[in-house]
């Protein structure tokens, strides 16, 4: 679904280096100075939970050394410092972070580079380096809320990079790797402190999102207090640190049936099996409460994974309501809980 332009939110800024982050050209031996305002923009965007990366035609080691000298190297993840087209670099960055390419912005001083990127990837927001100081007031770069998760976002991605490197070097199977992580998955009712993050999750999550419904802070606050709803939030941590609050689930409860209106999981935890664990828990709860269990699914061009997850958890399609698939779980088959996750339910 196309979002209206003013609603569009950028999740990652990709910076050029020469004459964009700093004045001068590194490999021509210029004396380099940080461009005015750039450091402040980088730090502020980081605090807002916007990720930052680099697409620069440069020598990797020289560029990294220079970033360290300026004390800003830690702000960037998945740097693409090479001689290939920047459109490729940017596609790689989006793929590494696992976010939609339309949530990226690209900053460069050269018209040629901006045009190359815009031509190959029209969905990207291109910003000329002259506009750096205007960036902090651009609506696309101002998330509605800054949550405790947004401030930690870069660090969480950095732990992910560490985990992924270890996973790639790991000799055993995927579930053997998962069992080395000592994962703790916590499901609780959405509390006061969680509301902003809950709204942020509905806005940010596309791939593992069953309906794509976005709810405002006020609506979520209503559901949280409503007797006819159950609003759950999930957090995950492992021995490398916290993943933050990564999942949300809204159940509409009547006397004899429950309906999953919303089920979403951050794409960062797609390979961790926690979506299935959450569904599993709901199935058990529904069985215990002796109610029928339904789930709504609204197909988009990105969320097929969630459909597959529902179906593999034993849901079957029983109807269609204005394009919304209605699924039901017969509650006869309860998928086993993986033994590599410790589940804490705080209801």
């Amino acid at each position: 679904m196309e979002k209206a332009k003013d609603e569009r939110k950028i999740k990652c800024i990709v910076w050029d280096l020469d004459n964009t982050v700093w004045n001068g050209v590194l490999l021509e031996g210029d004396t380099l100075t940080l461009r005015e305002g750039v450091a402040e923009v980088i730090r502020t965007l980081d605090e807002r939970g916007i990720l930052q990366s680099i697409a620069s035609k440069n020598e990797y080691d020289a560029a990294m050394t220079q970033l360290k000298k300026f004390g800003i190297d830690e702000y960037f993840i998945y740097h693409e410092i090479n001689w290939g087209p920047k459109s490729n670099s940017i596609k790689n960055i989006a793929k590494s972070i696992n976010i939609g390419i339309d949530t990226l912005a690209f900053v460069d001083d050269q018209q040629f580079e901006l045009e190359e990127v815009q031509y190959s990837v029209p969905e990207i927001l291109c910003i000329h380096a002259d506009k750096v100081r205007e960036m902090l007031t651009m609506p696309e770069l101002n998330p509605r809320f800054i949550t405790s998760d947004s401030k930690l976002r870069r660090q969480m991605y950095m732990s992910d990079i560490r985990r992924n490197n270890i996973e790639q070097a790991f000799e055993g199977t995927q579930d053997e790797f998962l069992s080395t992580l000592n994962m703790n998955f916590t499901i609780s009712k959405v509390g006061d402190d969680d509301l902003k993050r809950a709204e942020e999750l509905t806005v940010r999550t596309h791939q593992l999102n069953a309906t794509g419904y976005t709810y405002s802070y006020e609506e979520l606050d209503f559901f949280r207090k409503s007797k006819d709803h159950l609003l759950l939030i999930a957090g995950l941590e492992d021995k490398y640190g916290t993943y933050g609050k990564i999942g949300l689930c809204l159940l509409e409860c009547t006397r004899d049936s429950w309906t999953l209106k919303l089920l979403l999981m951050s794409c960062r935890v797609m390979s961790r099996g926690v979506g299935a664990v959450m569904i599993n828990l709901i199935i058990r709860m529904a069985k215990e409460a002796n109610v029928r269990l339904f789930a709504e699914f609204l197909p988009t061009n990105r969320n097929r994974t969630m459909y597959v997850t529902y179906k593999f958890a034993g849901f079957k399609e029983v109807g269609n309501n204005n394009g919304i698939n209605i699924l039901e779980n017969g509650l006869s088959y309860i998928p086993p809980l993986p033994d590599y996750i410790k589940l804490n339910v705080e209801l």
């Binding site: 055993g172 199977t173 995927q174 579930d175 053997e176 593992l208 999981m265 797609m270 390979s271 961790r272 099996g273 926690v274 979506g275 299935a276 097929r304 994974t305 969630m306 459909y307 597959v308 997850t309 179906k311 593999f312 034993g314 079957k316 399609e317 698939n325 088959y333 998928p335 086993p336 809980l337 993986p338 033994d339």
Partner: protein, 79 residues
């Protein structure tokens, strides 16, 4: 049919390396199904055998074992 099974077994062995899967063994009972695996399995089948898995085909029973996956693929290919 045998050839389909060989290709499916090859794919699954990446996830169940230490465990020699029987053709009729229930892969869901092994307790290892996450969203990524499920989606990778569906995408592997679609790409490897040039078929489209429709929503109706996405039934747990069709993916329970190497045998059932192979039957799904051959029925889609002959359709």
């Amino acid at each position: 049919m045998e050839e389909i099974k060989v290709r499916v077994r090859g794919f699954l062995s990446r996830f169940f390396k230490k465990h020699e899967l029987e053709d009729s063994e229930d892969i869901f009972s092994l307790g290892f199904v996450n969203s990524l695996f499920a989606m990778q399995l569906v995408m592997f089948i679609e790409k490897e055998f040039s078929i489209r898995i429709e929503n109706n085909d996405l039934d747990l029973q069709n993916f329970r074992s190497i045998n059932s996956i192979a039957e799904l693929i051959s029925s889609k290919k002959s359709a």
